[in-house]
């Protein structure tokens, strides 16, 4: 008995099926963090793979398993998918053991991504803590590659110590760019030769003049404590809750709304998220 649903059964189009991708380069970032550049083996597919900033993909290590990882590269740079990964468990450990040129599985892109259409024409304030830079980097480069579509572009990024700074080689340039207000900070500087700010990420707010809450979208990504303090600060600055965007992390198995592992209240992080406005988040119980 066919159901009432109109479904197209196409074995060649199984949404759970990972496609083979090759690790074309591995760049160590911070301790236990590496940036992987991946390319789909199927060239046509690689070129047609179209993402939005803030989306993620399911990464499979053959013989080990699968986990969700943000796509760190912007849609403006096709052909290569970049993922910045922290080693934390089974799948990520196995990934760290792979040499360049190994094959992995990839499927996606999934999730809503940032509402860039709404954000364009506004000021963009990005605030990242630690690995939170991974999803925000796609938005950062989307904005820089489409610079004329945004007014001010501001990035505040904090890590625990200088060695934890991700995308270090990019930041030396980013900090000097005239079309970007970029400020980095570390909680502590044991080395003594960190040239930038020392203090928590909210201390960087002092470096940004004249934030206009009515014409700014704030995109935050980081560990829970970053959300807490940054949101407090933004609310003090009179940001409306719908202009504060956060990226939520949940246990995910399928990435496409079937397995129910990522549900928060009545939403699925994988389909309705991972980007939620603060307004959505406070109306979703268990969200933060």
């Amino acid at each position: 008995m066919l159901s009432k649903q109109t479904v197209k059964l196409d074995p060649a189009n199984n949404p759970y099926k990972p496609r083979l991708a090759r690790i074309v380069s591995i760049k160590p970032q911070a301790p236990d963090h590496k940036l992987f550049q991946l390319r789909f083996e199927d060239r046509d597919y690689a070129e047609s793979f179209c993402t939005r900033p803030g989306q993620f993909a399911e990464l499979s290590i053959i013989g080990v398993g699968e986990c969700p990882i943000s796509i760190s590269s912007p849609p403006t740079r096709k052909g290569i998918v970049e993922m910045c990964v922290r080693r934390t468990g089974r799948v990520t450990n196995a990934l760290f053991d792979l040499p360049t040129n190994s094959m992995v599985g990839l499927r996606g892109p999934y999730g809503n991504g940032y509402p860039v259409e709404d954000m364009e024409g506004n000021d963009l304030l990005m605030i990242a803590g630690g690995l939170g830079m991974a999803p925000l980097r796609s938005l950062l480069w989307y904005a820089l590659d489409n610079r004329a579509r945004f007014n001010r572009v501001i990035l505040l990024y904090g890590t625990r110590s200088p060695e934890d700074l991700l995308f270090r080689e990019e930041f030396d340039d980013l900090i000097t760019r005239a079309d970007l207000e970029c400020h980095v900070t570390v909680d502590k500087d044991p080395t003594g030769n960190w040239p930038y700010n020392v203090g928590v990420v909210t201390s960087l707010f002092d470096k940004v003049d004249n934030l206009n809450p009515d014409t700014t979208y704030a995109a935050i990504c980081g560990p829970p404590v970053v959300y807490k303090f940054v949101i407090d600060q933004l609310l003090k600055l009179n940001f409306s809750k719908g202009r504060i965007l956060m990226s939520l992390e949940r246990m995910m198995k399928c990435g496409i709304g079937k397995c129910l592992h990522c549900s928060i209240g009545h939403k699925y992080t994988c389909l309705d998220g991972p980007i939620f406005t603060y307004w959505d988040a406070i109306n979703l119980r268990e969200s933060i």
Partner: protein, 344 residues
């Protein structure tokens, strides 16, 4: 809709004919009050026509408790596996709530990302439903799942000496056309007996759950201490989900063969009451206590799914109530949330 009448003595012939469309599965008695789906052995007397709920519902035919999704090897990557997906199966003896539960699962497995495994089986499984008389754990009427007018190939309603045969699909029509001489036209007495049956069945429901305004009430009761009281009793055994015809969450794992080159990706039924369901990297658990997890199951069914698809993800089959070793009663709990007097 095409309706016919078949004298009960023709049931063996009817079942024999079904065999032409595939492997026939029927409910059989397992213990005093338990039933399970088994392949029909040709003996009509072995079919438990009065079975209300098999321990494991018919969802297991569409969505396997554990199944291989992919086979993989290091050079070719992942290849779709679909063991038994293409097998033709006939389910004889599924009730109205079971048919509704399939529609509930359809909503999840369809959408932007179609689950091939589920829908291939959905296409290949023939549904021959049968009528039932509720017991004290059935509350399908409260969930709007007590009657069906579509979603089956054939539906048999027990009218005493006869079955009323509802033909619900072209395949169902083929099945009745295979054996034209066992059917008769529906007459006035059939209609009369059908109405009598309906009234009798309607009056037999003992368990009633008022669902009006339930999503809002549950919102207000979010912090009710009863959730944690029930959570303390819950053993996190997962039985309620395993037996539930509308629970669908699953887990995925990969196994590797001895050659360390090839292996399989599996999925298996999971349960949101297990401790690690919402555990993420770093050991943070977004649903830390058992009361919260129990509440999640109830709210998902009566609030979240309802919001997405306009019906609840519960068909009132009573399985979770019967199966729970801690005597946690879905209906009693929801009644208590409504402020009705109960013993929950």
């Amino acid at each position: 809709m095409k309706s016919l009448r078949m004298a009960k003595r023709h049931l063996p012939k009817f079942l024999e004919s079904l065999g032409k469309w595939g492997k026939v599965y029927v409910p059989v008695k397992l213990g005093k009050n338990s039933y399970r789906w088994e392949e029909f052995d040709g003996e009509v007397d072995n079919i438990a026509l009065d079975a209300l709920r098999t321990v494991i519902p018919a969802k297991k035919f569409f969505y396997k408790p554990r199944e291989v999704m992919f086979e993989y090897d290091k050079t070719n990557g992942y290849t779709q596996a679909c063991a038994e997906c293409e097998e033709d199966v006939i389910l004889f003896g599924i009730h109205s709530c079971g048919i509704h539960s399939l529609e509930t699962l359809d909503n999840i497995f369809a959408g932007k990302y179609v689950d091939n495994y589920y829908f291939t089986r959905r296409k290949n499984i023939t549904i021959v439903g049968t009528s039932c008389m509720p017991d004290k754990h059935c509350f399908c009427k409260s969930m709007g799942a007590d009657t069906v007018d579509e979603g089956y190939d054939i539906f048999l309603t027990d009218l005493g000496d006869d079955f009323l045969i509802g033909v619900g699909s072209s395949k169902g029509d083929d099945i009745v056309n295979d054996n034209p001489d066992i059917y008769e036209e529906v007459d006035e007495s059939t209609t009369k007996r059908y109405l009598e049956f309906r009234n009798k069945r309607d009056e037999s429901f003992e368990l009633v759950l008022d669902t009006s305004d339930l999503p809002t009430i549950l919102d207000f009761q979010y912090d009710n201490p009863l959730w944690d009281e029930l959570g303390e009793r819950c053993l996190a055994c997962g039985s309620c989900s395993m037996v539930c015809p509308t629970c669908y969450c699953y887990n995925v794992d990969d196994t590797i063969n001895l050659d360390s080159e090839t292996g399989e990706r599996w999925r298996e039924w999971d349960c949101c009451l297990f401790r690690d369901h919402a555990l993420v990297a770093g050991g943070h658990n977004f649903r830390e206590n058992q009361g919260g997890r129990l509440k999640h199951r109830y709210l998902h069914k009566q609030q979240a799914y309802l919001g997405d698809f306009g019906r609840t993800a519960c068909v009132g089959c009573g399985r979770c109530i019967v199966a729970c070793p801690a005597n946690i009663d879905y209906v009693e709990c929801l009644k208590a949330m409504r402020g009705e007097m109960t013993s929950a």
